[in-house]
């Protein structure tokens, strides 16, 4: 079970958090301008990487804030956590 460093609360047990899928997918500003394929790309297509992955997490049983995490899925090492809207601090 991970120990996650919530950017707002500090280190907490994984059981306080909820994973929210791939990070940095921006909801299109003008969905109606998009073709079916473009909309489907936003709606359905997600990466599932063995290695470094950018993820959304929510401190659901804590401050309820969403934030981003960089995690290596091959060994579960958390490389960084950072707030929504911030640039990832690692590549």
């Amino acid at each position: 079970m991970f120990l996650i460093n919530c950017p707002f609360c500090g280190e907490r047990e994984q059981s306080e958090f909820k994973a929210g899928g791939e990070a940095h997918i921006v909801r299109p500003k003008q969905p109606t301008e998009l073709s079916d394929d473009e909309w489907a790309e936003y709606l359905f297509m997600r990466k599932n990487i063995k290695g470094v992955q950018f993820e959304r997490w929510n401190h659901i049983h804590g401050c309820r804030k969403w934030f981003n995490m960089v995690r290596d899925t091959s060994n579960d090492q958390i490389k960084a956590v950072y707030k929504m809207g911030e640039k990832p601090p690692v590549k």
Partner: protein, 1003 residues
Amino acid sequence: MSNNLRFKTSKFIDETYRISFKFNNKTYFGFKGDTLASALLANGVHLVGRSFKYHRPRGIMTSGSEEPNAIIQLHDNSSRTEPNVRATEVEIYEGLVASSQNCWPSVNFDIGGINNLLSPILPAGFYYKTFMWPASFWEKYEYFIRKSAGLGKSPKVADPDIYEHNYIHCDVLVIGAGISGIIAAKMAAKNGFKTLLVDEKSYLGGSSIYDNSEFSKINNHLTSSWLEKEINEISKLENLEIKTRTSVAAFHGYNFLLARENLTDHLPVNQRENKVRQRLLKIRAKKVITATGSIERPLIFDNNDRPGILLSSAIKKYIDLYGVACGKNNVLFTNNDTAYETAMSLIQRGIKINAIIDNREQIDSKISYEVEKNNIKIYKGYSIVETYGYRRINKISIMKLSKDGQTVIGNKTKLNCDCLGLSGGWTPAVHLFTQSGGKLKFREEDQVFIPDVYPSDQISIGSCNGDFGLEEIVKNTLSSLKKFLNIDNSEYKTIEIISGLNQSKRNIWLLPSDKSIGKTKSFVDYQNDATSKDIKLALREGFRSIEHVKRYTTTGMGTDQGKLGNMHALGIISETAGTKMGEHGTTTFRPPYTPLTFGTIVGRNVGEFFDIFRRTPIHDWHVANNAEFENVGQWKRAWYYPKDNENMHQAVQRESKAARDSAGILDASTLGKIDIQGTDASEFLNRVYTNAWSKLAVGKCRYGLMLNEDGMVYDDGVTTRLGENHYIMTTTTGGAANVLGKLEDYLQTEWPELDVYLSSVTDHYATISVCGPNSKKIVSKVIPDLDLSDEKFPHMSFKNTKIDNIKCRVMRISFTGEHSYEINIQANFGKSVWEKCMEAGKEFNITPYGTETMHLLRAEKGFIIVGQDTDATLTPIDLQMDWIVSKKKYDFIGKRSLYRSDTIREDRKQLVGLLTENPEEVLEEGAQIVADIKKSPIEMLGHVTSSYYSPNLKKSIALGVVKGGKNMLGQKLIIPMENKNINVTVADPVFFDKEGERLNAKL
């Protein structure tokens, strides 16, 4: 059996404390300090079980948690009965009752033993190959397999014991209190680390605590006495907590570990009342030191599984720790020096050793010379090729090994014995290390896997790290600790260690035989009866990966996870396939290390604590008025209120009729309520609901439908505009938490620029809904100051008011199609206002109704229940709710998806009403809907989602989803049931008061 198997020399056994116990219905005696295994051995009992597949007689093999054979049923015929317990781990107590598993009718005469004679036709994969076909026969096969399979009996009644979960946070966790673990715990605690030391045994010190050999000394003391002093010292350290009888079950990432602490299993049953039996410890350690030791390997040769054959180290432990001789005429069979330590322990007590069979040609160590000096015959370069004795070993045959160790040569010699000790060297116990994600490397010299890459802040020390000699263990432990903890360990600077063993070894995974392999039974996995022959067969049949071989042969798949034989399986695979060790992978050890009871896993989360119950502020009234309850999410909701022996149907019919004829009252407090404030609140609602909100006047209510981004209906409810920038949203009872989460998600991640604040207020208010033609009269009695005229208080509006000076909100909204009011008041006044309404409604026969009636009434009106009539595959268009989807709004969640090529298909499943040909026939919810039953395969068009008998319409009504249903109005369809086909007609989903006259009727 004579009791001169017990030697009164052990300080671990309290001979003044005699304990009687029952095994297989026979009474025996042992002493305090005994395990069930040591007590049985002291009574001359070796045969304790039957093997899984061939039902071969099996004896106690080891002295610890790695035991594959002595798997017993504890507490027979009691609520505490527990299967798959290792006799080697059970400390005996007065009144213990245990029996063998996997044998019927008895361990001495076992009908399944016929499988042993049939074994030529029971090779690896036999079950897969034989029972695969024909599929219809599987039920019959299963019956026989289950009857003869020996996995013990599960308890039939509730567990009377108490279990707990505890969290522990520490700087350093030390797993294993052998010599290296003791040193580690001491160094860590003395250097200021908050330390926890755990060991699965009841005592500290591991195998060194009974090491009284003159051949291994520390600072010129016997290892045991040196260690005793160390233990004495650490027991006084304030920074150190020590837990014995505590087995680490799992080592997860980020140094999170689960351990089972056993508190009462060693006590007489009558002393266990009201005590916690076991604790599941959830340990988060900054640093972990694994000192789990190593497990002795057996040797793999023909018939290596008879009762009386034990690991050599187990024989040593039984005599040194428990004072029990496993046999009177022993033979030791080894490929390394450790068996000579066992020999010295036996020699010291005058127990006969008939011979030592050693695979090695050359043996050059002080301890072996000492053994030879005692006139023990050592057969160097020999191997055992056969053993004899059905229920107990009585003879062996030995032959000389060829130079390359691949064959046996020369004449066969027979030797008598009643006990055979095996030592195939040692396997580091790396189970926990690999569970944590650690990577192993293979060390060629002595053919062991040892820790290589650590995934977290941890180290392995001692023999689990591949250090086997005493000097190596102590010195390497000290230097590892110095680095790992960044400490000074000058205390041990001058430590002096002498050891009479050397580390030479002649490793042969599968010992050769004079017979062809097909005629041998060399067991690799004792518990699952997997032999070397099975492994070779698997390889011949093309299996290569160890994980595949494991599943095909079932090697390592027993409750012991193959702690003894996995290495041999790997060795035989790599030798046969001509590949390097580890090339085919090492098997994955999965938690738990030793089995856990269900009680430990669930802890206190049993009975009424299994899940949280949420009760409304009016709950007690419902209970007092005979309500039946249903679970909705975590809520207990009043379901219906049976009167005078009514069944559910009768009660619901009465309630439904009363609500439309006069007045009904419903506790709607469970509906989710979200308070929404901020200057952008209207804009926010515009984005999350399908309809428009900007023009909703203050004081008005509106029904809203919320979609997922994929266009599918997610939730619904009425939202009220309380002020310019203030709304209260209601959600479905089950959806409340998820809706709040979803709204927060969009606000925080997609639209952070919006000035909107959300707050869950579900629990803050009690919500009482009064409906029916007399609702107006009742509410006017309860709140006389409130003007209820249609002009001042029209449908879909709200008023702030007071009841007895307590502020409340009243909405005129309806989920039944009747004129109705919803009173929202501070939760703690909910019950008294409910009672006020009941009192005021008495003259109108006000009838409390539950969720079932609520569902019936709304179904008459064709109102959907999200989650019952929808299942995340239906758009508002599919639900024939086009009217609620704004065409004008540029965007809202899910809008773009409503005109994807898939969502505009005409033949999607759509919500329709269904009327049965026979109005008395009520459909089953979930029943399939078809059009043509003659054409095979029958095309499934949809299913029934809601179905009731309507007392107001006096006929059966139903809602369902049907492919292309929108255009099928009036069409006949069929509901095929088990013994009949029901004819139905597709109808409008609104069955009752289509024009909504009742809502606007002048009352």
